[in-house]
Amino acid sequence: MAIRVTLDRVLLERRMSLTELCDRVGVTMANLSILKTGKAKAVRFSTLEALCRELECQPGELLQFVEENQERDAAE
């Protein structure tokens, strides 16, 4: 997908575990894993808002636009 979720990087920078984030945001571990692994099709504004609030970051820090061919090259 052209939009990459950089949640793992932000979590690492904040030294926060995914479990802790789940508790704080109120999203299930399964759903956050879907988001973290890039399998999500869409993100609700309410979820994004909660993530930004708990991680003290901007939406742009969590999402990154990647060119399709760039993504393919990275995968290879």
Partner: protein, 174 residues
Amino acid sequence: MKALGKNSLATFLNTILVLVSWFLWAALAVLFLFGLPALVIDSFHDLSWVAKAPPPALVWPFSIMFAIFVLATQVVISRLRKIFATLIAGDPFVPENATHLRTIWMILVGFEALNMAFSSGTLLAQRVFGEMFAGLRGEFHMNWSLWLAVAVLVVLAEIFNEGAKMRQEQKLTI
């Protein structure tokens, strides 16, 4: 009566389908176990005890048509039961239901095409061979209600397909 879940309309219709399925298997078994062997034995050639019995020359084609009808109906019933199972479970928007509906309308189209071909063939045979096929209903007609049902099923299949896609997207919306 509720439409989804246990003890719903879907459960009731599912039970009716099971009964229809058993009845059709029984009818097919009776035909092949008793009806057709009777033809083989000379002394039973007289089929006048059967109401509107077809001419002996057409018994085999009729039997084959009936067997095809039973098998096609069994497939349709089996697919319908799978759809009802999802309705009973309360989750009908699964991709498999679109496939089941597509299969059902394709079977209906196939069977109706075969039926039309058979009717036309009978009509032709009546014209060519005359009395041998007298008494048979050899007429070509369009079953409009069936074609309407096919159209509804085509639309329903596509609705289920799109519904399943939307549901999948909804599932992956965090």
